[in-house]
């Protein structure tokens, strides 16, 4: 078995490469949500490498794990991860947000192999995940349902309706990941609608609650080795992340939710990512 350090380096390299692919894809398609994709990419890399049991060749398998990207605007990260895992040919990335392509600003399950639910409007995914987890319980299927929401998304009341429901029906086959990057379109979440403490909130809703650094593969590994905890309670992983993680001038800057870099900024961003890739490649040798 690989040492944790070795594994971590491998994942970090994958993430860095995918960040570059995401950035290139978004610039090419003149899309948006670079920073949103960068805050979740490490989580997605880990989930698709190590956690989710989904066979790209058998997407109708009733026993597959399910992943629902409730914050659909993070779709660019999901597309790149799915393409790297051969859910669809990588060439599809070339037509992101373009005529004739299958990859839009928000994922469509009828167009993109591997996309479980079409999302985009916030606060929908967790209820659907609850329905899927409930169906698995009824059908006695021992697979798991993972759902990723944003912290801003948790403004939506429906998220908390779903939280109550998941606990009430003892859905310990359900794992929610909160991409807690602390930011929304117009600034910091705490300044717009302060959640105070996600961990306390979920605990009071009866959930198994755990908090990690969502960019640290060691922490991702240790938490996903443990969850879901089969104690008749749903589990939430509050992943503390940085919006725009990986590009110095984008980190924690809300404008990068929707903005595209200009040529000079693009150059700096690409240099930073290439630098990171090179240094991780060196380390890996």
């Amino acid at each position: 078995m690989k040492t944790n350090k070795k594994l971590t380096q491998e994942f970090e390299l994958k993430s860095a490469q995918m960040r570059k692919e995401i950035l290139e894809m978004i610039i090419r398609g003149r899309g948006t949500h670079i920073a949103s994709a960068f805050s979740i990419i490490d989580i997605l890399v880990y989930l698709y490498e190590k956690v989710l049991k989904i066979d790209p060749g058998d997407l109708a398998d009733a026993k597959r794990d399910r992943f629902i990207l409730s914050k659909g605007h993070g779709g660019a990260a999901l597309y790149v991860v799915l393409a790297n895992h051969r859910f669809f040919p990588k060439e599809a990335l070339n037509l992101y947000c373009s005529e004739g392509g299958i990859l839009g600003g928000h994922p469509d399950r009828f167009l993109v192999p591997g996309v479980e639910v079409s999302t985009g409007s916030l606060g929908h995914g967790l209820s659907i995940a609850v329905g899927l987890a409930l169906a698995n319980k009824i059908n006695k299927i021992d697979s798991r349902v993972y759902c990723l929401v944003g912290d801003g998304e948790c403004n939506e009341g429906a998220v908390w309706e779903a939280c109550m429901t998941a606990n009430h029906h003892k859905l310990d086959n359900l794992v929610l990941i909160v991409d807690n990057n602390g930011m929304m379109i117009s600034g910091f979440t705490k300044d717009i609608l302060d959640p105070i403490s996600f961990s306390q909130k979920f605990k009071s809703f009866g959930w198994n609650t755990t908090e990690i650094n969502g960019h640290d593969f060691g922490e991702l590994q240790s938490v996903f080795n443990k969850v879901p905890i089969r104690n008749k309670k749903p589990t939430v992983v509050i992943a503390n992340t940085i919006k725009g993680k990986g590009i110095s001038f984008m980190e924690n800057k809300s404008q990068w939710h929707g903005m595209l870099p200009n040529e000079a900024e693009m150059k700096i961003a690409m240099e930073e990512l290439s630098c990171r890739i090179n240094s991780l490649t060196e380390k890996g040798k």
Binding site: S127, V130, T165
Partner: protein
């Protein structure tokens, strides 16, 4: 119609164990036999309707056929965006069943009325809308919805009486001719079909020989039947327990106004863009107050016919 839903959901679940019944904290007493027999098919998801629609969509993505049952405004307007995205855009095999539609809850006030539900549901791609006219048809609608793959909204009232006419097989999208006519037609839906029959009898005495059509499916609307009527009739009156905006009348109008061979003048009867004021145990009194009685219908048809 409540009893019709209870008995038919029982039947369809018995025939197909993937059928489920989700409720928003109503009907537990009436559904007690169902709950006893199918404990894994019944979930009371509380008064959290937006979530309930999402849960239903999730269940359907795992092969279940959930019927979501609660009071009409709360299974339509309350959770509209979930219906748009989770059900219609995701093409989920979810059935919505609204009870007490229109002004059936006559003493409860406009919060519990639904005079806009057809309009908002009709604007959603993939949605089928069925508005049964009597208890038997409510059962037929539930059976047909269970077989149809895709979203269906069934609009039930409360205390409809059985209509006595020779009916053929129930088919989604095919209106039923309740009474044949020659020169005019009343196209009605839901509880208005009964009123239309009474009006037709009165009109008959004055030699206005009126078709009465039970348009139980509002979407997809029966274009063939409407076109036929519009070719043969001088006047068509549509009547519904719904706003005149976006309901049955609008659907009929979309057909005839774009049909070259249309010879009929159309009158759309319904609630005229208002919230109902006042209360009554008797829905007919509300209808009368808002110009939707048998007499109003007779008067409107005569006006059109003799104009």
């Amino acid at each position: 119609m409540r009893d019709s839903f209870i008995s038919s959901i029982y039947r369809v679940t018995k025939a197909n164990r993937n059928v489920m019944c989700l409720v928003g904290d109503i009907g537990a007493f009436l559904l007690r036999d169902y709950i006893k027999e199918f404990p894994l098919n019944y979930y009371n998801l509380g008064v959290a309707e937006a979530n309930m629609i999402g849960v239903a969509a999730g269940l359907s993505m795992a092969g279940k056929i959930p019927f979501v049952y609660t009071i009409t405004p709360f299974v339509t307007a309350r959770c509209y965006e979930q219906i748009k995205v989770d059900v219609c855009y995701n093409r989920s095999n979810v059935k919505l069943v609204g009870i007490g539609s229109g002004v059936s809850y006559g003493t409860m006030g406009p919060s519990h009325h639904s005079l806009e539900d057809i309009a908002i549901m009709g604007a959603l791609p993939n949605m089928v809308i069925i508005s049964p006219s009597d208890p038997q048809e409510a059962e037929e609608a539930v059976l047909a919805a269970a077989k149809h793959i895709g979203p269906v909204y069934i609009r039930l009232t409360l205390t409809s009486t059985s209509l006595n006419y020779k009916r053929g097989r129930f088919q989604i999208g095919r209106g039923r001719i309740v009474k044949k006519g020659t020169n005019t037609a009343i196209i009605a839906t839901g509880d208005m079909v009964g009123l239309a029959l009474e009006a037709a009898k009165i009109l008959n005495r004055e030699n206005i020989n009126c078709y009465v059509v039970n348009m139980h499916t509002i979407k997809p609307i029966d274009e063939t039947l409407i076109k036929k009527l519009s070719r043969n009739c001088k006047a068509i009156v549509s009547i519904e327990e719904h706003s005149v905006i976006g309901g049955l009348g609008s659907a009929v109008s979309r057909v005839v106004s774009q049909y070259r061979d249309n010879k009929a003048i159309l009158k759309i009867m319904g609630f005229k863009d208002v919230f109902v004021k006042g209360y009554s145990q008797d829905k007919m009194k509300i209808f009368k107050k808002y110009g939707l009685s048998v007499n109003h219908l007779v008067k409107e048809m005569k006006k059109l016919y003799f104009s």
